[in-house]
């Protein structure tokens, strides 16, 4: 009797801890993974350092201030460059839309002008890094047809493996993306992007994961490698502060042009 009770409790705890989501569809898993942004923690102001490494191993550093928040179930991000000096003050505003393409604006301090980023400009390198604007939005993963592949393990972590084929018209440069999403916290710790010839072009790996005060996972360090060009970008969150309430005014074109 006692043994049965004990085994039941252990089994129950195991089920609750690990396999409670076994019945989730690929779409549901991706939707949960999308809550974790590579641009820093939700509801925070983060200081981020991007280290760009070229084929020869030479490094260049970009410093950014990133404000990010989910408002009305949609991600809003404001990115402001603080280094290097020649592009200091250049700012980006990302606004996720429920349908269609997300809105993106760019403020160029030298021209004192705000410009919309349209179409294929989203596939451009973000600050010369291996991230494209679309990668930061994770648009390729969101607007896609998802398929669950066999589960796998990365290091000690059990992961769902999802294949996402971006829908026509999503503006994605990839034919497909394979994502390894941790079962315990739904963080997509590895993404593999394949180009239109189905050749692996990029790999993203979440190397450092923190937890906020509520114990929720926060992406702290991400490495994106372009395996075809043999370049990589390490994006590291150096520090972050809570935005507090009333931050919605931050994510406006008006604020974009204020600078600093």
């Amino acid at each position: 009797m006692c043994r049965t009770l004990f085994l039941g409790l252990i089994l129950g705890s195991l089920m609750l801890g690990g396999e409670a989501y076994a019945g989730l569809t690929a779409k549901q898993i991706v939707d949960r993974a999308m809550k974790h942004s590579y641009l820093g923690k939700d509801g925070s102001q983060a200081t981020v350092r991007m280290t760009l490494t070229n084929q020869r191993g030479a490094r260049r550093v970009r410093s950014l201030l990133i404000w990010s928040q989910r408002l009305e179930k949609r991600t809003r991000s404001l990115v402001r460059i603080t280094a290097p000096a020649d592009v200091r003050g250049t700012s980006f505003l990302f606004k996720e839309n429920a349908s269609g393409q997300d809105d993106m604006w760019l403020y160029i301090p030298a021209l004192k002008r705000t410009r919309r980023i349209v179409g294929k400009a989203r596939q451009g390198r973000f600050l010369g890094s291996d991230f494209t604007y679309a990668d930061l939005e994770a648009r390729g993963l969101k607007s896609a047809v998802h398929k669950r592949l066999a589960d796998a393990k990365i290091a000690r972590f059990a992961c769902y493996v999802i294949e996402a084929r971006p829908k026509a018209g999503s503006g994605s440069a990839y034919l497909r993306i394979v994502a390894w999403i941790r079962k315990d916290n739904f963080v997509a710790i590895r993404l593999k992007m394949y180009d239109q010839r189905d050749k692996l072009i990029k790999k993203l790996f979440v190397r450092r994961l923190g937890r906020n005060a509520a114990g929720k996972p926060v992406i702290k360090e991400t490495r994106m490698a372009n395996v075809q060009q043999r370049t990589s970008t390490l994006m590291r969150v150096l520090s972050s502060k809570s935005l507090g309430g009333g931050a919605s005014g931050l994510f406006t074109v008006r604020n974009l042009a204020r600078g600093l």
Binding site: R116, A121, R125, I154, R211, A213, L260
Partner: protein
């Protein structure tokens, strides 16, 4: 034998149950965290959390950080000591920031179509030409957001320009043998303003640049700031707008933005009348105007040339008081990919209104202004009679503008239309006599419609292409009007096509740019290819060319003698 194991199992189960259900602070962290209010979570309950409670989960969070190495990655970064990310800390939404930056740049150009040394050669009446030019620019700026609602920016600018001519047409120019050196140095305040963000109102007070209109190449609605035109009319690699002292208020109301700007004082375009390649009466100007430069130089001692220019450009300025103030407003909205703006500006027409005494003008046209290398005293007769020989003033103008932009899937289309009922132009054709004792007004006013339609395309961040069609229509100009305006305009309209292509390679370190403008009516054009390379994040070098082609007395053909190759280096910090 079984009993101890059962006992241990029961104890473990009891502890597990107790920890999971009754004592969350001791047990698994996740349920416990759900109870403790997250200071970084904006959706948290309105109750302010106690400091002690905030501290505990942070310590736990620090311990919970995970570092995972990609087992597939052979080139993974090695762990870096001393660069560990700090944990998220609760803090105010605003942190005061201060940024100090600047740049130092050296630009040099060599004229490839020069005609040898001009000044000082006996009998040579051609205008001076800059064969070698050197422009040094230093910028230092400090910007501080010291309050959530306030920001200040101050910029200091130092500019030094020098040029020289070749010693002779058969000699190679190197800096040591350059002759007829000219230079100027300017130390001035650039942008210097205070921003106040007061609810729906953004206020900017001070010296500033106001960007109106949507186009980024030629923008007819960007009318608030004067320009520095001393290095040419078109600039593809530089912002030549001059900051003006102004008060600007932008009121944001739902999807509408209302902008009001007030400029208390007058500020003119910065241009050379003579003595440099792009001067109004310089070597690149039309032949009739270039002749005038020579006559001015003969009137004045060379040591006075630099000081005489501003006086000749403006013999009477608008008063330095509030009577010279100008103002405008702009309504704009941005909805569903559309950007629409309407603007009105009551400002100064920055093209000088020139008038000349008829007798002096007639003598100049007939070549009687000088007799045997000396000024004809008869030309000074109007002075004796109390009249001015020459006047250069400024007139008010009204400007109405409309801007419409739409972002499509792969393109952005922008239209800027500007209407001025009283836009001034300088008449440059020879006026037929007879000449009396009146003043001959060389300013011609027209109802002017200037439109610019731009199409922008971007292919990733590698390629950005912009194509712009510009049309100028003088609405009230008669077809048979024989007057020539501004040295090239003999019709009631003019049309330009401007193109700009920028290619970024090698992770945005190599920048290849080509810009061109074609005058469709007369076939003249200008071409500006350039290549920049970022050696490091601080150092950038570049080379380029500026080429003009076309018949004389056309918009770009007039400047063919100013073709040059240039190189620059810039350090930013």
């Amino acid at each position: 034998m079984i009993r101890p194991r059962v006992t241990v199992g029961l104890v473990v189960a009891g502890v597990w149950l107790a920890s999971a259900l009754l004592c969350p602070a001791v047990g698994a962290p996740a349920p416990a965290d759900e109870v403790i209010e997250d200071p970084e979570d904006d959706l948290r309950p309105r109750v302010r959390p106690a400091p002690r409670r905030r501290a505990a989960p942070r310590r736990r969070a620090a311990a919970a950080e995970e570092v995972i190495d990609d087992p597939e990655d052979k080139h993974r970064p090695s762990p870096q000591k001393g660069a560990q990310p700090k944990q998220a800390t609760p803090g105010p939404a605003f942190v005061p920031r201060i940024l100090v930056g600047g740049s130092l740049g050296l630009w040099t150009a060599f004229d490839v179509r020069h005609e040898g040394r001009r000044r000082g050669v006996a009998g040579d009446q051609r205008a001076t030409e800059d064969v070698f030019e050197m422009l040094t620019r230093a910028r230092l700026n400090v910007e501080s957001r010291f309050r959530k609602w306030a920001k200040v920016r101050v910029e200091a600018r130092l500019t030094h320009w020098a040029s020289c001519e070749r010693p002779g047409s058969d000699q190679v120019l190197w800096l040591g043998n350059g002759e007829a050196w000219r230079s100027r140095a300017e130390v001035e305040l650039g942008e210097a303003y205070v921003d106040l963000y007061l609810g729906p109102v953004d206020l900017r007070l001070g010296q500033q640049i106001v960007s109106w209109g949507l186009g980024e190449l030629i923008n007819p609605n960007d009318v608030v700031n004067p320009r520095d035109l001393r290095q040419g009319l078109l600039a593809f690699d530089d912002d030549r707008r001059l900051p003006v002292l102004a008060v600007r208020a932008a009121v944001h109301w739902r999807w509408l933005k209302v902008e009001v700007v007030w400029l208390p004082f007058f500020k003119a375009h910065r241009m050379d009348l003579y003595g440099s390649d792009f001067a109004l009466l310089g070597p690149g100007a039309s032949s009739r105007l270039a002749e005038a430069e020579h006559q001015i130089e003969r009137l004045l001692d060379p040591t006075l040339h630099r000081f005489a220019q501003p006086l000749l450009l403006q013999t009477r300025r608008p008063a330095d008081d509030l009577t010279a103030s100008t103002a405008g407003f702009r309504l704009s909205t941005s909805r569903r990919g559309w950007d629409v703006a309407l603007q009105y500006f009551f400002g100064w027409d920055l093209t000088p209104a020139l008038s000349v005494d008829e007798q002096v003008y007639g003598m100049a046209m007939e070549g009687r202004l000088f007799i045997n290398q000396s000024i004809n005293l008869a030309a000074l007769l109007p002075l004796v009679e109390g009249r001015s020989l020459y006047r250069s003033t400024y007139e008010h103008t009204h400007q109405l503008g409309l801007s419409v932009g739409k972002a499509f899937e792969h393109l952005a289309v922008k239209l800027d239309v500007s209407y001025q009922p009283d836009r001034g132009f300088i008449r440059t054709d020879p006026v037929a006599g007879p000449f009396g004792n009146d003043v001959l007004n060389l300013r011609v006013e027209h109802h002017t419609l200037l439109s610019a339609l731009s199409v922008e395309y971007a292919w990733g961040s590698k390629l950005v292409a912009q194509l712009q069609g510009v049309h100028l229509a003088l609405l009230d100009r008669r077809r048979a009007d024989p007057r020539e305006l501004m040295g090239f305009l003999r019709e009631a309209h003019a049309a330009l096509v401007v193109g700009y292509v920028r290619l970024q390679l090698l992770r945005q370190t190599l920048l290849i740019t080509a810009a061109a403008a074609v005058d469709l009516l007369h076939g003249s054009f200008t071409l500006a290819p350039m290549v920049h390379y970022k050696i490091t994040d601080q150092w950038r070098v570049g080379v380029g060319a500026l080429v003009f082609e076309g018949k004389p007395d056309t918009l770009f053909g007039a400047w063919t003698r100013n073709d040059h190759l240039w190189a620059d280096v810039r350090w930013s910090f």
